[in-house]
């Protein structure tokens, strides 16, 4: 059950200005027809003559030396085309470039394990055969001898002297560490009336559940030495710069092609090792290679979200509830390899103060490697952990000091009139009104009637709780932040490309560098182009997906990190305006009037004063492309406009770790009501409200879909989704039986609401908004803490609270309370 609350005045419109065009309306999605009819083309739909199917042989051990690999029995099987093992990979490629400074920089990461395995499921060999099933069977014939080693699965033990070291080259399990400090932290604690200490909080390891697992169909053209990679990797710009140097080839030899992708959520950013293995096989075996990941492989090895501990936290608070600052030690578990890490070590800093005005922050960040699946971005990447922690501090402070969590938030939220707001570390929150969002959330959740609901629940023997989560979805990265991790890195800014052209018969064709996975880029790009060219979205053909051959891409092209509405649509707008300018230029020649007297409307370029004097866009396309004799020699019009959008970023100050790290800040305020069975710890989310502010909404229904999906994702993470390892490094939750993602029946009654605070920094007033689920994780934690308070005031210390953990909190509230201490002056 869902329902949407519309504010009384949905759009901020200047007086006298009328809302026109398609932006802000729910036009039918261009993608839907082919998708609902099963006519989408995913990489696995790409078939090639003589194609071989690859299956990975994976390590059963979390940590072991490989003493021998024998593929002879597998290769002897009829229908097996060939194999690839780590030794070949080590001879044919270089280790992947590491983003870290030493010691992480010394880690050697290849497409297949070389000499040693470091997590259960690590690929050690590949078998290619005529069918998927045969390849899978033949993989069982590969004989690998291991010499097991001790494993480390607890980040808190990773740096102990007796703990086994994963990467001998690095010398220890430390991958990166850095100290962040802004403001006057000592001063804040001196000024504080209360210091609230929290010894340990834990953010759990989980990931997303794209309907489509990873994979590729890779072809090698022997004549040109070029690979064509049909894949669902969601960040080809990153994959290319990882793969090219490792494969000792230029990026001109790597062509990435996507059409439809069944979800990504960041988890499909780091498939470059598998893609390299497929490229090597395509060249070795002289045939196209299909690799389609099995679901268990996805669970076991692909892209877990970062697990993080927050240790020895201290919060400085005034008697009136004003928050002055905090200090903590963040300990991040990156898993066995640094595939995108240690960028998580800085990405969190995009949202350093959360939604709050505290100015004094110290965070010691330490990242370690462990014998678990490698981490990669996961919807809300690295900020979600930090924002959950921030919210947990707020609620623990409120509970311990007897303050109202609603009032503490309202008192300390950054205020609407302070926008744009510069955070202690130099990030600029572009716009927003968090207190107003909270009011909308309280209205939707029925805050006024909570006392009656509580009494009703208690009369049925249930514990009743109310909780809030307020988070930010920082979008459009300034890749210059990577230099805070490693000053030597030569990345900064961001970019995306769009090309809009007008063809012979009036076709308007848009190509993008992005790799949509369900974000409706075709629809929203068509809306933006239609409004600028004076046509309808139906008249605009946005090419599906990404193809390096279109030359519509740049170094950061892809779909990740909440940015399409800014970078993608910014590029689309730039290209469409460029094309509109050219159309007018041509129109002024043909119609014999100044460009300033022309407008684009209803599919024509026409005189504003005389709509009869009009040239159809079709004629413009025909003239330039096929009927151009007699045009003035200096008419610089191609009707093929390429635009690279570049957000306005500066290089951050590496010394102070200061600067604007992201361009936009969408906000979410979620509220949850729970009822807990005090005997068993089983609980139900009985009401839920999700409020989103992502600035100007180009297509409200698409935004709504993202909000609902992100909420489901958050509720999964809050209640059941967790990757649990035993001490030997076995993943105990490698399938949907043990790793429970929310079903439709698990979803609570959900109300959504919104406000619109247009971004002053973006071309369309939009903000990226795909990752706003973190609020839900905290809303559930806070509601549980509220519900359990009458039973010894236990402290909710983990981001994931399955029923057994709630039961434990009920059984022994003191154990959790020992984590918290208040020192008052």
């Amino acid at each position: 059950m869902t329902e949407t609350l519309s504010p009384a005045q949905p759009l901020v419109v200047e007086e006298g200005e009328e809302q026109r065009g398609f932006a802000g309306t729910n036009v039918p999605r261009k993608e839907d027809k082919r998708l609902v009819q099963g006519q989408g083309v995913y990489f696995d739909d790409v078939k090639r003559h003589g194609m071989g199917y690859a299956h990975f042989v994976r390590s059963p051990y979390a940590h072991a030396n490989i003493t021998s690999i024998d593929v002879s029995k597998a290769e002897a099987l009829e229908g097996v085309y060939g194999t690839l093992i780590g030794e070949e990979v080590a001879a044919l490629t270089d280790p992947f470039f590491q983003l870290a400074t030493p010691p992480g920089a010394h880690i050697k990461d290849y497409a297949l394990a070389v000499g040693k395995v470091r997590h259960v499921g690590e690929p050690v060999a590949i078998v290619v055969a005529a069918t998927r099933e045969l390849a899978r069977d033949a993989a069982d014939l590969v004989e690998v001898d291991y010499e097991p080693l001790g494993a480390v699965t607890d980040a808190r033990r990773a740096l102990d002297p007796e703990t086994p070291v994963l990467h001998e080259e690095a010398g220890s399990n430390l991958s990166w560490e850095g100290v962040y400090e802004w403001g006057d932290v000592e001063g804040a604690f001196a000024e504080a009336d209360h210091v609230v200490k929290i010894s340990e909080l834990h953010f759990d390891r989980f990931n997303s559940t794209p309907l489509e697992c990873d994979g590729a169909v890779v072809e090698y053209n022997r004549g040109t030495g070029q690979w064509t990679i049909h894949t669902n990797n969601q960040f080809p710009g990153f994959a290319a710069i990882m793969m090219g140097p490792a494969m000792r080839t230029g990026l001109d030899k790597l062509r990435f092609v996507t059409q439809d992708i069944g979800g990504g959520f960041g988890n499909k950013i780091t498939s470059h090792p598998q893609l390299v293995a497929c490229c090597l096989l395509a060249r070795k075996l002289h045939r196209p290679i299909n690799w389609t990941e099995w679901r268990t492989e996805f669970h076991l090895t692909m892209s877990h979200g970062n697990e993080r501990w927050f240790l020895d936290t201290e919060v400085a608070v005034k008697a009136d509830g004003t928050l002055l600052g905090f200090r903590t030690k963040a300990l991040d578990d990156a898993g066995a390899f640094l595939r995108y890490e240690p960028l998580g070590g800085v990405i969190w800093a995009q949202v350093t103060p959360g939604c709050y005005r505290w100015r004094n922050v110290r965070l010691d960040f330490t990242q370690v490697v462990t014998n678990k699946a490698p981490c990669s971005p996961n919807r809300g990447y690295s900020r979600m952990q930090h924002l959950w922690f921030t919210e947990r501090m707020i609620d623990i402070v409120a509970h311990e000091l007897g303050l109202d969590p609603v009032e503490v938030r309202k008192k300390n939220y950054v205020k609407a009139e302070e926008m744009p707001y510069t955070t202690p570390n130099g990030c600029v929150y572009d716009s927003g009104d968090y207190a107003r969002m909270l009011d909308v959330a309280l209205e939707l959740i029925g805050y006024e009637g909570l006392a009656e609901r509580r009494a009703d629940a208690e009369s049925r023997g249930k514990l009743f709780g109310f909780g809030i989560g307020s988070t930010l979805d920082s979008g459009t990265n300034n890749f210059g932040q990577s230099r805070l991790i490693n000053p030597e890195l030569q990345f900064s800014g961001n970019n995306e490309v769009a090309t809009v052209k007008l063809d012979i018969f009036g076709e308007i064709v848009v190509t993008l560098g992005t790799t949509p996975q369900g974000q409706s880029h075709e629809t929203t790009a068509a809306i933006v182009v239609a409004d600028i060219l004076g046509v309808t979205p139906d008249d605009v053909n946005v090419r599906a997906g990404h193809d390096t051959y279109w030359n519509s891409h740049a170094g950061f092209s892809g779909t990740y990190a909440s940015q399409f509405a800014v970078t993608g649509l910014g590029a689309v707008k730039g290209a469409a305006e460029k094309l509109a300018g050219e159309i007018k230029k041509l129109g002024s020649v043909i119609l014999g009037c100044p460009e300033s007297e022309l407008e684009l409307a209803d599919g024509f370029v026409r005189m504003k004063a005389n709509a009869e004097a009009a040239l159809p866009l079709m004629a413009c396309g025909a003239i330039i492309n096929a009927n151009n004799a007699g045009l003035p020699e200096d008419l610089d019009v191609t009707l093929n406009a390429r635009y690279v959008y570049r957000p306005p970023f500066e290089l951050p100050d590496v010394e102070r770790k200061y600067g604007n790290l992201t361009l936009t800040y969408a906000a979410q305020v979620h509220a949850a009501l729970v009822e807990v069975d005090p005997e068993t710890g089983v609980y139900e989310i009985v009401q839920y409200a999700a409020i989103d502010d992502c600035g100007k909404r180009i297509h409200p229904q698409i935004v709504e879909g993202q909000v609902m999906g992100a909420t489901a994702h958050a509720l999964g993470a809050a209640t059941h989704e967790t990757f649990t390892y035993d001490a030997e490094g076995n993943l105990l939750t490698p399938n949907f039986y043990d790793y429970h993602v929310p079903h439709a029946m698990d979803m609570p009654p959900l109300k959504t609401g919104y406000i619109e605070s247009p971004s002053p920094f973006t071309a369309l007033g939009t903000k990226g908004m795909g990752e706003g689920g973190g609020a839900g994780i905290h809303a559930v934690c806070a509601a549980l803490q509220d519900a359990l308070a009458p039973r010894g005031r236990p402290v909710v210390y983990d981001s994931c609270n399955p029923y057994h953990r709630v039961w434990e909190l009920l059984q022994d509230p003191e154990a959790s309370r020992r984590r918290v201490e208040v020192i008052s002056k």
């Binding site: 059963p60 979390a62 291991y146 097991p148 076995n730 993943l731 105990l732």
Partner: protein, 148 residues
């Protein structure tokens, strides 16, 4: 996972020792043994099919006697490989005389299972392992009786 226990046999210590150190006798105690090879006094190999509920798990188990102090103490390492599972086990037993004709055996076993079967976790495997251990000890008693 670590298992341990104590079992009393109505037999002299020498008899129990003989059975425990006889590959042929031991083969008869193991679950689902399909074939058994003796390389030498220290090394044996068994092909077994372990009942796992969903179907038998075929495993080739190599055993190596690593330490012994006749007639009271021995350790044995076993390493089994099968599709979907790799098992490592190190066991030790200590025999002491309770009196004439009665021997008590203290035993420990450290079992680790890797691979997809290992992912099922202890909560699933523990009851299966306990059941198998029960079977092994019962057959061991029969072997000791037969050897008296």
């Amino acid at each position: 996972m670590r298992l341990e226990g104590e079992k009393t046999f109505d037999a002299p210590r020498d008899t129990v020792w003989r059975v425990l150190n006889s590959p042929e006798a031991m083969a008869k105690t193991m679950p689902g043994v399909e074939s058994f090879d003796i390389q030498d006094e220290q090394h044996w190999t068994a092909n077994v099919k372990i009942p796992l509920g969903l179907g038998g798990l075929k495993m080739k188990i190599r055993m190596e006697k690593t330490d012994e102090r006749e007639p009271e103490f021995a350790t044995l390492n076993a390493r089994g490989e099968g599709v979907g599972a790799i098992m490592n086990m190190s066991t030790a037993f200590e025999l002491s005389e309770n009196g004439p004709g009665s021997t008590s055996m203290k035993w420990t076993a450290d079992v680790s299972i890797a691979g997809p079967v290992g992912s099922m976790g202890q909560r699933v495997l523990q009851p299966i392992v306990n059941q198998q251990v029960g079977n092994v000890l019962a057959s061991l008693e029969q072997q000791v009786e037969a050897a008296k």
